[in-house]
Symmetry: C2
Subunit: 406 residues, 2 copies
């Protein structure tokens, strides 16, 4: 059940016009880069989506409070300590971290957003961050995004980045982004963080609407273990340096092209995240159709993507349609057993109320050996559809999460 | 992380007055007993609760249809094949199985309920059942419940039984029951089945109300992997042979005593089920209090009990309060971080907004080595409470569910 080791994306990337990034080691983690900054040379429109948890970290609180300004210059991120469950002290630390970034960039402290990922319940080592930020700022470069991607990693085995380009108003517009880890590790919280940058000119209100729409179709369709972290954060900066006429309407042709490019980057990152889920050996895409309502389609897709039994079956390369139908049923999702169909890697394994037989089963089992597998389910009762990205559940997931104790 | 092997309950049990049971091998499973029957000498009041799945097996359909009769004589159960996802053919097989039991007992076929557990998508071997039922009927005995408990096992490592006694109207009344496995195994569905028997005289309507109430507090508080099977079934037979005045009101003192005895048996069985969850090394009880509403208390308790991260931490004997608070937050359950408290095995590990420190952590870690551990969480925002029973998540769970492929 082993597969080739994951690698960082083959292509290197360059930030859009007017952005610079960097990553340094400040000494919070035991080894490796652990402090990243990405900054725009000019004030940029900023949009963000955050964890919906009722128990959130101080950096999420601080960044969320700053978003109504709708413009900003930079994001400063550390890995190793998440600054969660630290009370008033945590809040002071998050504010101080932002101030530290603002001092280096010589900008308003409200123009710097922050994010932290790592151990919870431990104080943020502000001294280390303060000492490293000037060096980090001096090293910021147009080609520094990969170092930033490495500096935000916790349990990720590879850094993650993606980019896309589109033409708006005859101008080339670039979207580039990085992301890190879904799944948790003791006592780290492997928060999902993703930071996106574009040189498109987009009005802040439109930028926020577009990010929400794209996040709902990508980041919010990802599950590794059904958990949501205290610190999940996606930020999007748009600095307008591409020179297009500012996008102000969600319906404009330019905005639609921008959404496509942004979606492409976000989905690429989400697939990288699923593939690198803790202990994962396979990226699993789940497509549910024929549901009675969008809510039931979503529920069915989420149940399949979170089912231990489905995920362990995928790990075992077992074309087990019974478990898929069982978890849909347990979720009280309406299904017509006679009209329903289950396909694994394109092979129908259940249809017309029963198994498609041992030959189909054998073909599906072969398909399941690939590094990316598809589960498609038609419920046969309506027209709603939903999609999820996940990974399989391996013995390594349990080992990672049980044995990495302090 | 290994623990002493589980054993069957130390005490043997005898069925209440007027019941006889047995278990034989009819040859569906590769080895061992696989056909059980428990019968009342006289028509008994019958109550039942079933899976809420929208994808259910034919035996559930058939037994559920018969319950409005509110009386019955027996339940006939096979293990090895679940008779799920077999369409009209499955329904005919479940009806034929009941008829077969009725012939042997010389009673109305509607007076026999059926249950099946095992592989899905395969035809029920009716010939084997038909051939074995006369022998099974001839062997029915007052002390046959343990054989019946063994004959309904699938992935269980030990048989499960329990009993309790109480006095109603000056008469001794007995409740006895058996149960089998929660958690699934490929391509078996390790359905939760439980059958309860009492010689108390209880009006059918009251019996159904009482079973619903007790099931909600016991069977429905159990989770091994967050799944619900297509075949989950709990049946309760009351044949009145104890000679008490028939219990007709839920509020009568006798009914309250009966409920206590029934709850004792059900909770005992549920604990045995959790302890024997697939790959489980520990029984985990989760107690949430201080919630804003009963619904939020329930949601928090279920999230903790189903959280992969919490369950793998328990497997790793890691007093990881961060994961507990994180999964509560991800469930959007209201919590006051300052007033909240987390206790592991009685030791407070989080309170007043932060960690209780390394000493508390060490004491809690010691507690987690026991074969039964308690997670208690006070949310600090209200007065509602809820409880769940579960087990830890081990590498063996994944191995069992990934590697037992056909």
């Amino acid at each position: 059940m082993s597969r080739p080791k994951l690698r960082a994306p083959a292509e290197t990337i360059e930030l859009p016009e007017g952005f610079r990034a960097g990553g340094v080691r400040c000494g919070i983690k035991k080894s490796g880069l652990d402090l990243a900054m990405i900054a725009s040379d000019v004030p940029a429109a900023v949009a963000g989506v955050f964890t919906t948890s009722t128990f959130v970290g101080a950096p999420v609180e601080v960044s969320r409070e700053r978003l109504p300004r709708r413009t900003g210059r930079a994001v400063l991120v550390n890995s190793g300590v998440s600054n969660v469950a630290m009370g008033a002290r945590g809040r002071r630390a998050a504010l101080a971290m932002a101030r530290c970034g603002a001092n280096a960039l010589r900008c308003d402290e409200d123009d710097v957003l922050v994010a932290s990922t790592g151990v919870i319940g431990q104080p943020l080592p502000l001294d280390k961050i303060r000492a490293a930020v000037p060096r980090l700022e001096q090293g910021l470069a147009r080609d520094g995004l990969e170092r930033a991607a490495r500096a935000i990693m916790t349990t990720d085995t590879v850094p993650k980045w993606a980019e896309a380009r589109t033409r708006i108003d005859g101008r080339w517009v670039t979207v580039a982004g990085i992301a890190k880890g879904a799944g948790m590790i003791q006592p780290d919280m492997a928060t999902m963080l993703s930071f996106l940058f574009t040189d498109a000119a987009v009005a802040p209100r439109t930028l926020q609407a577009v990010l929400r729409q794209v996040a709902d179709a990508t980041y919010n369709r990802l599950t590794v273990d059904g958990e949501g972290s205290t610190s999940d954060t996606v930020l999007l900066f748009a600095n307008g340096r591409a020179g297009n006429a500012t996008l102000r309407s969600a319906r404009a042709a330019g905005t639609r092209r921008f959404v496509r490019a942004l979606s492409e980057v976000a989905e690429d990152l989400v697939r990288q995240l699923a593939r690198d889920g803790e202990g994962a050996t396979t990226l699993v895409t789940v497509e549910v159709s024929g549901a009675k309502s969008p809510e039931e389609a979503d529920r069915a897709a989420r149940r399949i993507a979170n089912s231990l039994l489905v995920k362990t079956a995928i790990f075992g390369r077992d074309p087990n349609w019974g478990r898929i139908l069982q978890t849909i049923g347990a979720g009280r999702v309406r299904i017509d057993a006679q009209k329903a169909e289950v396909r694994l890697c394109g092979v129908p394994v259940y249809r017309a109320g029963r198994s498609a037989g041992p030959k189909a089963r054998a073909r599906a089992a072969k398909g399941l050996a690939a590094p990316e597998v598809a589960i498609e389910v038609k419920l046969g009762v309506g027209r709603a559809a939903a999609r999820m990205f996940t990974c399989d559940l391996s013995t390594d997931y349990v080992r990672i999460n049980a044995e990495y104790t302090t």
